[in-house]
């Protein structure tokens, strides 16, 4: 650039957040002495309206062509200032931000050291800014369609509302049926409806929409591109049973393999060929190939020739503008013997007892344990939550207290001479669900509060005793129980890690997916165009998951309603004159964004700007310096590094 470089440097006080530790005036004075700097100023809040105006006015007054702001983390205000300089007529990528708050004033108590560090960082940033060149955002045409991953209640809600807004929706579910855990909840607290009926109403509405395509027994195996134009590959695993199936059930009778039925949370067993549950969508049998021995008995008895054991998986590629991740949770699985788990038939989880209490469940709602109607029923709350349990997280699972109350009330209603204990830490029937707690108290349910983990003793005959220290009286109680229910909470989905290898979204410490910002950008993933909904982000009730799903749909529509979105131009570009065609870069690219083209008879690398995500790994590997990352060229980073020492 032949034009003279004119840098403006702005140091933010951030009230006393920065100025309390950094001598802002000293840094400003120092910045004004740096080569290329025309003006350096400080201001109490650079991000405020007047702060931004100060920069805009200076750009005009001093003909600035580079702007450096030393303030907070760029994660907070890089976009704010880029927009401000753009409004003053300067290319937004001629702006550089210096983090002197999170990385400096907030972590260093010593004023002299913090001031020296701020000076160093500003010097490095000015050196970098001088090398910056104007860049144009990449314009991406928006595909007016969405990929919703996960067919539980959050995914269904998101899919339905996007479809109703008129967008094409591809809904992908790993299991052979839609509905997730919600479909197996017999009574949804507060809503007062059955889970399967709730799911049914969503699914029916979705099926009536021409712009919805549902893929069950499927998963997403590849996702590339960005907001507006994601390319996804959907793998449709074989079901081995076609739509010709008339549900006669002959196959199930002859199938020799029995495994625990995961749709009843292992409460009963099922065959290798099975109907997930009464209201499954689609209502078709499916074969679990992990269990199947390929004996062929089912094929022989099927009267409509619906079974094909040779069916293979298929793939479908779709291009979508947005992705909504709603893969939900899995119940906490206690370790064997933890609170007596799996030591006796009389120990059930909260998810199992709900199946047992379901009028349409395996026992038609009859509560029979070991052939007898239990008289003393004990619930232990918080198993798998709040640090109770060997693999438990520290979070509260939100859904369990209310569910325990509902179950306890049902049991009291159906077995009037029963005694029900709820051993809990804190009872968190928050919001309107507190009503259930009142009803439980009125319904003679007995509450015991614990702090030490209760001890569960299982005798060789299988009878159970729970030893618990009652906090309120400070005494140990020994409760013999006919039925023990572990109030298990929510854990991150079993397959979540696998899903996240394809859909790149980060997790928090507890293993749930993190939203970009809980208050400023909820339901959004940090990556533009990817949204997260439901219990995949942490424990949620059914109602909350629906709200979350709809919120994600609504946020996603902010992209889908546009014709174009712009993407940051920090992508790799090839200097074709320098490229020798060695193609080391191709092996580096995790996105297959690099291909080749022929230029004057020689082979050179070519970057697909839509697919490139801008990591810069190919740049670091290029031996000739032909591959460069826009905005982070070697030239720019080297200038910043060379300014490390004054």
């Amino acid at each position: 650039m032949s034009e003279e470089v004119r840098v403006g440097v702005y140091i933010c006080h951030c009230g006393t957040n920065i100025a309390g530790t950094v001598d802002v005036e000293e840094v400003t004075r120092y910045a004004s002495t740096l080569p290329g700097v025309v003006i350096a100023r400080s201001y109490i809040f650079m991000c405020s309206e007047p702060g931004q105006q100060l920069i805009k006015d200076d750009i005009v007054k001093y003909k600035l062509n580079r702007v450096v702001v030393a303030a907070c983390s760029p994660a907070l205000h890089e976009l704010t200032f880029r927009r401000a300089v753009e409004e003053a007529g300067l290319n937004p990528y001629l702006f550089e931000m210096v983090n002197i708050r999170e990385h400096n004033s907030w972590v260093h108590p010593d004023k002299v050291q913090a001031t020296e560090k701020a000076k160093d960082l500003v010097r490095m940033a000015v050196a970098k800014a001088i090398e910056l060149k104007p860049l144009e955002d990449i314009k991406v045409e928006v595909n007016k369609s969405a990929l919703v991953v996960g067919g539980g209640i959050a995914g269904l809600a998101a899919a339905l509302y996007l479809a109703r807004m008129g967008f094409m929706v591809h809904l992908v579910e790993r299991k052979p049926t839609l509905g997730g855990h919600t479909a197996r909840i017999p009574f949804i607290t507060y809503l007062g409806v059955r889970g399967d009926e709730l799911v049914e109403s969503y699914v029916k509405a979705l099926m009536a929409m021409p712009n919805v395509k549902i893929y069950v027994n499927s998963d997403v195996v590849l996702l590339e591109g960005g907001a507006g134009a994601f390319k996804a590959r959907i793998r449709m695993r074989p079901r081995y049973v076609s739509a010709k199936c008339n549900l006669c059930g002959e196959c199930e009778k002859v199938c020799p393999v029995e495994v625990p039925n995961e749709y009843e949370y292992g409460l009963v067993r099922r065959k290798a060929i099975f109907l997930p549950f009464e209201k499954a969508y689609p209502l078709l049998y499916a074969i679990d190939m992990e269990a199947c021995t390929r004996c062929g008995a089912c094929v022989n008895v099927c009267p409509v020739e619906a079974i094909d054991l040779e069916e293979t998986e298929k793939h479908e590629d779709v291009t979508v503008g947005v992705v909504i991740l709603a893969t939900g949770f899995d119940p906490y699985e206690p370790e064997r013997e933890e609170f007596g788990y799996k030591l006796s038939d009389r120990v059930l989880t909260l998810f199992q007892i709900q199946r047992l209490l379901d009028e349409r469940g395996p026992t038609k709602g009859e509560i029979v344990v070991n052939g007898k109607i239990p008289k003393t029923i004990v619930f232990i709350a918080c198993v798998g939550s709040m640090g109770v349990g060997r693999k438990a997280g520290r979070y509260c699972s939100r859904m369990c207290c209310s569910t325990i109350m509902s179950c306890a009330l049902k049991i009291r209603e159906r077995i009037p001479d029963s005694t029900v204990f709820i051993i809990g830490r804190d009872i968190r029937t928050y919001g309107y669900e507190e009503d259930l707690y009142w009803k439980a108290l009125e319904g003679d349910v007995r509450f015991v509060r614990y702090d030490e983990w209760p001890e569960v003793r299982v005798t060789t005959e299988g009878s159970i005793e729970v030893l618990v220290r009652d906090v309120t009286v400070g005494e140990y109680l020994l409760i013999p129980a006919d039925l023990l229910v572990l109030g298990v909470g929510a854990s991150p989905g079993k397959y979540l890690k696998e899903v996240l290898k394809v859909i790149r979204v980060g997790c928090g410490d507890e293993g749930f997916v993190r939203e970009a910002h809980l208050k400023l950008r909820p339901v959004e993933a940090p990556t533009e165009g990817i949204y997260v909904a439901g219990a995949v982000t942490g424990p949620k009730s059914v109602v909350e998951s629906i709200t979350h799903g709809m919120a994600a749909a609504s946020r996603a529509s902010s992209i889908l309603s546009k014709d174009y979105v712009s993407a940051e131009p920090m992508i790799a570009m090839v200097n074709e004159d320098l490229c020798s065609g060695c193609l080391v870069c191709i092996g580096m690219c995790p996105y297959n964004a690099i291909t080749t083209k022929t230029l004057d008879g020689r082979r050179v690398a070519r970057v697909n700007p839509i697919v490139c995500m801008g990591c810069g790994t190919c740049v670091a590997a290029c031996p000739s310096g032909a591959m460069q990352q826009q905005g982070l060229e070697d030239r720019i980073l080297l200038a910043q590094i060379r300014a490390f020492s004054r």
């Binding site: 790149r504 980060g506 997790c507 590094i641």
Partner: protein
């Protein structure tokens, strides 16, 4: 080593994990040694050996390269490429007369501010023991020119 010696450290941080962890250390008001200056890149995979050598010649006593944990990389496997590169570069550094301990590669999750602080403290401690980097600049630049010539 000389009393009161403060090593100068240049840290490359990836936008998604380690930079965010350093931010979190700030918002959590943790105490971090003042010796570190962070250069932000999008991915640790962008950190070219050339940049690291430049940092040493530009006055750094130590260089920290940081990225997302293996398997958590925002760009799928950029950090894995970094790992391979750093292993090789450490060997080359010894030949340039720079102790390989001066280059350190660490994975820091965005939520793990504590780990960022621990690594920062430990790196300063180790470099204090090593003392200032003895720079044979003429020698070094001759070797670098040679290396560039080979490329």
């Amino acid at each position: 080593m000389s009393e009161g010696y403060e090593p100068k450290i240049l840290m490359f941080a990836c936008n998604w994990c380690s930079y965010a962890a350093a931010d979190l250390a700030g918002t959590s008001r943790m105490k971090v040694p003042h010796n570190i200056r962070i250069v932000r890149v999008m991915c640790s995979g962008r950190v070219d050996p050339q940049l690291i050598i430049e940092a040493f010649t530009s006055g750094a006593d130590g260089v920290l390269v940081t990225g997302c944990r293996i398997g958590d990389c925002h760009y799928i496997e950029g950090n894995y490429k970094t790992l391979r590169r750093i292993i090789l570069l450490k060997k080359a550094l010894e030949q340039l007369g720079i102790e390989s301990e001066r280059l350190r590669l660490e994975w820091i999750a965005a939520s793990d501010a504590k780990r960022f602080v621990e690594i920062a403290v430990d790196t300063v401690e180790r470099l204090r023991k090593l003392g200032p980097l003895k720079r044979h600049f003429d020698e070094l630049s001759r070797v670098i020119e040679e290396v560039r010539g080979i490329e």
